[in-house]
């Protein structure tokens, strides 16, 4: 059964009660929350994900709950808990769903050491992964959303999970997070994108999430081979430009962008180096023209 087959009442009752178990890529996460905004956001963004059976093992148990006592009513906050412990400070209650998403990112990045985890968006075309590692502000998620809008399969907009045994990228399709100016930019480009309401004044500014396509979620167990590694950089007003990047420089960028590289030691180095060996490496600068950017990537994928 997928989450979308549950009625809004069933979703609310599970989230507000024993927890709703959702399979997200290779991970089953049990989520609990009493926030109506999270109930509706789960119904929207995770509709195509499989609702795991109650008896199925849950890798993570997380919750986003209000405080007890008067703080429930006076400037209410939301607290994310992982295995009943809060790794972060509470945030304002209206940020409950972004907090859940950021918390899930934290869970994956700090717990899933069976993978080499890179801070990167990952998409797929013709069985090959396009990995875009980049710091905040580089336009990574904006490009990711634009490519998804034009049919690229979403593996993740935030975390590239590289299976250290196979060297392939494991999908974990979740909502795409957009911030500030990119919200309108993507909204104009992807006019039928399913977005949650804008949440203002977060630590990252204004934030929305975009529902991952059901077709991407349906292929959650289909891994992707190395294809392209592209370092995006947003530069206002510039024309799209794709330039080759040396493999050595690319490897150092991936090392910098990895959450758990040091934990894997020499094996991590070999996995990344093999991944780069099998990929074409580029840097890409663009000035916000998403049509031009998508055309560049379509040409790149078509030339492979």
């Amino acid at each position: 059964m997928i989450v979308g087959e549950l009625s809004p009442g069933e979703i609310r009752n599970r989230l507000d009660g024993p927890g709703l178990r959702i399979r997200i890529g290779p991970i089953v996460t049990e989520i609990r929350s009493s926030f109506p905004a999270i109930h509706s956001a789960i119904a929207l963004h995770y509709a195509a994900h499989r609702a795991a059976d109650d008896g199925e093992f849950a890798d993570f148990h997380v919750s986003v709950l209000p405080p007890s006592g008067p703080r429930r009513w006076i400037r209410p906050t939301a607290t994310f808990r992982f295995e009943n412990a809060p790794p972060f400070q509470p945030l304002p209650a209206e940020q409950a769903f972004p907090l859940l998403e950021w918390g899930l990112n934290w869970c994956m990045a700090t717990q899933c050491h069976q993978y080499l985890i890179i801070h990167a968006a990952v998409l797929e075309r013709r069985g090959r992964a396009l990995v875009m590692p980049a710091p905040p502000g580089s336009g990574k998620s904006t490009l990711c959303a634009a490519l998804v809008a034009r049919g690229w399969r979403l593996l993740s907009d935030e975390l590239a999970l590289i299976d250290v045994a196979s060297g392939e990228v494991v999908p974990m399709p979740r909502p795409i997070s957009l911030k500030n100016d990119s919200i309108d930019v993507v909204g104009r480009f992807w006019t039928d994108a399913a977005m949650s309401p804008v949440v203002h004044e977060t630590l990252k500014g204004s934030v929305v999430h975009v529902r991952p396509p059901a077709t991407s979620v349906a292929l959650s167990t289909t891994t992707a081979l190395p294809g392209w590694i592209v370092l995006p950089r947003y530069r206002a007003g510039e024309a799209a430009r794709l330039a080759a990047l040396s493999k050595g420089s690319t490897l150092m960028q991936l090392v910098e962008s990895a959450f758990n590289y040091s934990m894997h030691g020499r094996r991590g180095f070999n996995v990344l180096a093999d991944f780069i060996d099998a990929s074409a490496c580029f840097e890409f600068s663009y000035g916000g023209d998403l049509a031009e950017a998508v055309l560049t990537f379509e040409t790149l994928a078509g030339a492979a």
Binding site: G248, L251, M252, V255, G265, F269, A273
Partner: protein, 98 residues
């Protein structure tokens, strides 16, 4: 810098190497660090990795010159010494006391 002191890779078995064109990236098990070496530094390190017992400075210069197909090896001395300092700073090589 003493010419009688052999230079050697700190622990050749602990160093994993990837070479792409003129680029060398190495991982050092002993430190857990990854280094993207300048092309010439990469040649110097490879020469020492090929000779785990170590090389005296003149031998090392000859070895690098042979790799680069340079007949007048002595012109490389200043850049080899500069590369050795950098590789030692990265804890990839050491100079054994004579």
């Amino acid at each position: 810098m003493s010419e009688a002191s052999p230079w050697r890779a700190v622990s050749p078995d602990a160093i994993a190497v990837r070479e792409w064109d003129e680029e060398l990236v190495v991982y050092n098990d002993c430190t857990g660090h990854t280094h993207h070496l300048a092309p010439f530094g990469g040649k110097v390190l490879l020469a020492l990795l090929d000779n785990p017992a170590g090389l005296e400075l003149p031998e090392l210069i000859e070895s690098v010159a042979a790799t680069l197909q340079i007949s007048e090896a002595e012109v490389l001395a200043p850049v080899v010494e500069e590369a050795l300092e950098e590789l030692a700073r990265l804890d990839l090589i050491a100079c054994d006391p004579a």
